[in-house]
Structure formats: structure tokens, C-alpha cells
Amino acid sequence: MLQPPSVTGHTAPDTGALLARHGHDPHALVQILRELQALQGWLPRPALAEVAAGLGLTLAHVQGVAGFYRFFHTQPVGEYRILFSDNVTDRMLGSQALMADLCRRLGVAPGRVGEDGLVSVDCSSCTGLGDQGPALLVNHHQVVTRLDAERVAQMARLIRGRVPVPQWPAEWFEVRDHVRRADVLLAEPPAPGAALAAALARGIPGMLAEMKHSNLRGRGGAGFATGLKWSLCRQAPGSEHVVVCNADEGEPGTFKDRVLLTRHADAVFDGMSIAAWLIGARQGLVYLRGEYRYLLEALQAVLQRRRDAKLLGPAILGLPGFDFDIQIHVGAGAYVCGEESSLIESLEGKRGTPRIRPPFPVQSGYLGHPTIVNNVETFCASTHIALHGGAWWAAIGTPKSAGTKIHSVSGDCERPGLYEYPFGTRIGRILEDCGAKDTQAVQVGGPSGVCLSAFEFGRRIAFEDVPTAGAFMVFDRSRDMFEVARGFAHFFAHESCGFCTPCRVGTALVVKRLDKLAAGHGSRHDIDVLFELDKLMHGVTHCGLGATACNPLRDTIAKFRPAYERHLKSLYFEPGFDLDAELSIARHMTGRDDPGAHLEKLS
């Protein structure tokens, strides 16, 4: 029985109306492609040509942008597009077997669309649900959490029955906040606008001084002094200044920004508004990662409520000239866009390739305007600093690392979720609080961070000891740390933007070597080559992605060497393939299968 392909709302899109809604602005290209794909499932070449013509861009340029982002499809995909989150924590919860089960039930191969065009099933980088995995994305819009065999079986039935996704069981889409330990940021949020009013009362020089006194450093990983960044941007010449909130929370194992945007969106927007007032910005942008698309409507509602309350728009809080509004840009699956200059390129509708710096965004950022890019958590912290003052914030934590830090705890522990501590907290304390037992290792700060083994659990979270962007993945003694590193290596190769030689080729070479070791063909020479690649990539890449891509490799080889040596077949050279298997074609052609035609039987 033929049914119209209406289950996912696919209709012939009115591309003209879509382009008009975006004012035919080429800088809106990524948003236009997103919305176009949401209407028709994928992006056929004629559609790209129509977009190119409507925006005054070349087809090759539009094709290049579409081909950059992992969530854009330039080949047909299923009416239902299922992407399993493929972080190591999802795997530890059994995601791979569940994915194989779903594929088997639906009769499709991973990464391929079935002949009936109904469904495609594939993997995606971490979806930011490590505390409630295994998780998956449906049609780049909804998320399904806490997958198990029963959910997968039922999902296969729903897809076969072409039941529209909004009619799937509501509890599947439930995303829990799991706030396990709250300090100042995760506690009861301040009233919307209260911090903004407090900042205005302090005056611009006063509030900037509070920011500097607070010693707040950016929470996205780089740790640049926030007050200094804002001062530099304020001083930078330019007719327009721009505030950007980096909500591209792509570091595997990190999900704190998801919760802040869910529970404390007003605190984030208050922080952005304070920054706008200080640097003289009228335009604010939130770069929301594509995986968090399901948060969009709620965030738009918060923005509208703020406009109605005169906390956004013209003359905010009645102050003439304080005009500021915030738009949300939704990403399309690209980890590298967490790097601020890639993020700006993406906001401008281009491929997310990191820029050459200098100039830095504070001098020349979005569309060439002086721009500050700060993490979600940094803006939240700024809100609290406006309310309570810089000295109050600086008194929390350690002298070099002021304030608190939110950790996204996942992996082998009884109580995964968010834990907020003052800087200076011991790794071991966090492990105790989350109920981790028999812990072998912790990956702090995600794959680009550091892997700590048990003898380092006395170290402390701080910029001067163990810095972190917020991920805290726990591995007990049953885990193979070689496999953990191999998973991360695949992640970096998948997410390399492809711009510079060492990252584009190096991440692929690391994957080849680790896969060779995993297949049992590894030798000591392969480990030497891995060391060589690690050393090279730390020094010569264009951006931090390539520079940190070998961190998990380096840490695990150094600290868990037996995990690697278990995979070594011999200490000497081993070919990267099975010699005897390679002879099978010759055996087939010659009709031989006698012992003399088998390599291992010769000698």
C-alpha cells in the first residue's frame, strides 16, 4: 500500500519564501540550508542551485558549505533519520548493540538508506546526553534518551508503521537536568533582569572594574580573562560591536550548557545583555549546536518574554540608547565550530574553518565587527558577578582560578549529572560524590582535555593544575583504555575541518594505526609512529582541534601502556593486513585449497 511521504511533514518547499524570510542574505546560508532540509529531508543539487541563485552565491560555494556540516545531506536519506550518539559513554551503555539491533529490525545497513527510502540509521558525535544515554537524534530535531532494547524494538515498529515522531511516547523525549550538586550557578536563579539592573547601577567603568576584579576566566576551555576581553572589545574601533554566546557544546561528555540553557536561560541572556551594554553592542547571537535544536522553541519564548519585559529591544530598562536584541543561530553538526573563529565563520553562513589570527574577534569578528565570544557558563557567571560583585566571585575557588566550575559527570558512576564545585576541588572528591567505584581513569575536559589515572586523583580542578571545559568521564577497571582512545581518535578524524595538512591527514593516519592495532596487526613500530604523529600535531596545526587531537592517545599510551601492548602481535614489523587472506583470490582463481596454497602452512 502506497502512502504519501507525509509522516515527517515533507512538502515541496517554497524556497523563494524561505529566502525572502531571510532577506536573501548570503550570511544566512547555514540557517537557510537547515530550514530547507527540515522541509524536504535532504538537499538535492537543484535546491542548492536555487539557493545559490537567490543569494548571489556560486553553486560550488553553496555545495561546499552544505558538504562541510555533518547534519546536511546532499544525498537522499530516509524519511526517518536516526543518528545514534557515539560518544564512549554511549558505547559503555551499549549503544552499538542497540544500533545493530535497530538496523536489523529495520533491514538497513548503518549509514545507508533502505531501498524503500523509509529510514537511515547512522552515528553522530556526542549529543550532550551522557548522563542519560544511550541517546539518539531523530530527524535532527528530537532526541530520545535512555535507550534500551525495548525502546529500540518499539521504535522499529513505530517507524515501520510510519507513525509521526511527535506521536512517539512522550517519555522518550524527556531530558532530565540531573543537577546533583549546586553551588552559586546552579542554585535558584536570580529574577530575570535583576543582574542587568544591578550592572546599570554600577555604571560602565564600575561594572567593567567588577569584571576585572572577579578574575573570571572563560569557561569554554581557553580560560582567557573575561573582563580583559570585554575591555579590549569595548576599545576596538568599529561602528557595530557584537556579543556572541557559544552554545556549541560539542566537546564529548559535556552537557552543562544544555542544562544552563534549559533552567537558567535568563541568567545567560542577562549576562549577554550586560556584556552588550559594556562593549556597546546592539546585536547578540547565540550559536546553538544543532544537537540542541529541540531547545530552540523554549529559548525563543524566553527571548520574547524578555522583549515584553523591556529586557531586550530598544531602550532596555528605560535607558535611552541601550538597544540590544538576541537571535539564535542553530548549528548543523560541526565540533570545530566551538572554536570561536570557526563559529564566527559559521554564523556568517560559511564553512566552519578557523580563521588566521590575529586579528582576534575582539578586533574583527562577526562581519568584521569587534566581537566577544563567550561560553554559556561565562555569561551566567557574569550575571552573578553583576549582582554580588567581583570581590565576592574572586573569593571563591583558588587565587588563580576564581569562582565555581560546573562538571558534566558521566560514565562509570552511580549518579551521573551536573556537579558544581569551587575551583580547587580534588578529582577524588568528585569521584566520591558521584558514586564512582574501582575507578581506573577519568577523562577531564573531554577528549581534548587530559586523561588522569588513579595516582593522580589527588590533583585539583584549576587552571593551574587540571583545567577543564566541563566534561568528567569516569572509567572503571573493566574498561579498555586503548578502546577509549581509539574512539576519541575516530571522533577527531570525523570532526577535522580538513583545512590544514597535519590535522586532515594526521587524524586519519592515527585512526588507521589504532584500527590496525585493534585488528591485531600492530607492532612496536606502529606505536613509534603514533608518538611521532602526536609530536607533530601538537606543534604545527592551524587550530586547537588538531593540536589536541592526540591528547587521549598520548595520555593513554603513557599511563595505560599495557592496554596497547595487549594489542601488539609482535615487537617487530607486522603487515597492516592478513597476508594469507590476501591470497584467497589467487586460491579461488587457481582452484587450489591445499596446504601449499596457505601461507601459515608453509614453512
Binding site: 542551485a49 561546499g64 583545512f499 590544514c500 595538512t501 607533530l536
Partner: protein
């Protein structure tokens, strides 16, 4: 107007520079060779090949993107940096399909010449052998993507000099590739001409004029006569 003499140190020797120079620009101007592939004196820095990576005051940086300032201490011609360059070159060789003996660009190829200069004797890594069909659709110009090193010089030349915007970059990661701008995606359906800057800018053998193969015999070509570093010295 008086020109104030400014200089920095390159491998222990003073090197004068002009305002706005990158380290690589300043070096090229006076004939000091810093190996490079994606950089070209007529175009803005790109920073993708990383072959020009030097140490500036002890820290690695691409010489094409670091601005020259007085008193910088730049190391380039060191064993460590040249070994790194050799590894980067090997990466570029295994990533594509480079068969120098049968390549029309052999002897005129910057990739090949730089590999000789850095003492590269073999690929070191396993080959990727990517599947990259050639585009022979244009009457006068052949595109052999097997040799592309993604320097984007053709993208830049076509956009910034020819005003035709015939190329773009597509894909990501190891699947990054050069795209041609036409409805079919083939060069034959563009207005590219042999006189275009983009037609002669390719440092390797991707963009080649048809019917001119081996007009200059192997052995008499640019880098057959002088090495890439000697050519750099001559150009100053």
C-alpha cells in the same frame, strides 16, 4: 619619507622587513628560502599546508601568518623543523595519488621539488589511494584531482584575479576536495580559459593545459636546473 630599517633574526642572521610583512614575505623578498606550498607572493596568506612552520621565539608558528616585528628570533632551517616538514610532505603524498614518473608536472612541481629539498625518499606512511576521477571535459584544460594538496591557490586566483569564482572547497576532514562551479560540476561547463590566472597557478599537477605534454623534456625543467631553494635565492 624615510624608511626606518627594521629587522628580525632568521636562523641567526639579520633579516630586514617592511611594515605589514609576514616572516615568510620578508624572507622571500631577500631570497631567504623558507619551504612553503600554499603561500604565493601575489596572494594573501592561507596557512593550510603548514610546511612553512618555523619557531618564533621558541614557539611553533606558520611563517606565512606571523607578522614580522623587530627583534623576533625565528628558527627555520633546523634539523627538527625540516624533519617535521618532511613528515608533512609525506602526509600530502600519501593522501593523494602522486606518481611523479608519469606526471606531466614532474620537474615543475613545487611539491616534488620541496620533497627533494627536504630529503624525502619515500612515503613513510601507508598510502590512502583515494578514488578521484579526472575531469577532462574542458577543451583546453585537464583537471587531475589526484594531485590536489588543497592549497586553494586556484580558488583564490579565480575569485580574486579572474573574477570568475570557478572553484570552491567541499567536504570535510580527509574527504575535503576541490569543487568546480558549474551546474554539472565539470570544468567543461565553465568559461575557464587558458589565459586565466587560475589556469597557471597550480603548484602541483592538478590544472594542466591540454596538448602540451612534455613540450619541455624531463631534465630541462624548472627544478631540474636549480633546486627550489636556489630558485628562491634567484628571485630576490
Amino acid at each position: 619619507m624615510t624608511v626606518v630599517e627594521q629587522s628580525f633574526s632568521l636562523d641567526g642572521e639579520d633579516l630586514p622587513f617592511q611594515n605589514g610583512d609576514s616572516v615568510l614575505q620578508a624572507a622571500a623578498r631577500v631570497g631567504r628560502y623558507i619551504p612553503h606550498l600554499c603561500w604565493h607572493p601575489d596572494f594573501a596568506a592561507h596557512g593550510s599546508c603548514r610546511i612553512c612552520t618555523v619557531k618564533v621565539n621558541g614557539r611553533p608558528a606558520a611563517a606565512c601568518t606571523v607578522m614580522a616585528t623587530p627583534g623576533l628570533d625565528v628558527e627555520s632551517d633546523t634539523e627538527e623543523l625540516n624533519a617535521q616538514r618532511k613528515t608533512l610532505l609525506q602526509m600530502l603524498f600519501v593522501e593523494g595519488n602522486h606518481f611523479c614518473p608519469s606526471c606531466e608536472k614532474s620537474g615543475n612541481c613545487l611539491l616534488q621539488a620541496t620533497a627533494y629539498q627536504m630529503g624525502m625518499e619515500g612515503p613513510h606512511f601507508e598510502e590512502f589511494y583515494p578514488d578521484r576521477p579526472v575531469d577532462a571535459s574542458h577543451p583546453d584544460i585537464l583537471l587531475d584531482f589526484n594531485r590536489c594538496i588543497l592549497c586553494e591557490l586556484c580558488v583564490r586566483a579565480s575569485r580574486d584575479v579572474d573574477g570568475k569564482n570557478l572553484f570552491a572547497i567541499g567536504g570535510h576532514g580527509i574527504g575535503t576536495r576541490l569543487l568546480v562551479n558549474s551546474d554539472s560540476g565539470r570544468l567543461g561547463d565553465t568559461d575557464m580559459a587558458l589565459a586565466d590566472r587560475a589556469a597557471s597557478i597550480c603548484p602541483v599537477g592538478v590544472i594542466l593545459p591540454k596538448r602540451r605534454g612534455f613540450v619541455i623534456p624531463i631534465g630541462e625543467r624548472l627544478y631540474d636546473q636549480k633546486s627550489v631553494s636556489e630558485q628562491a635565492e634567484d628571485r630576490s
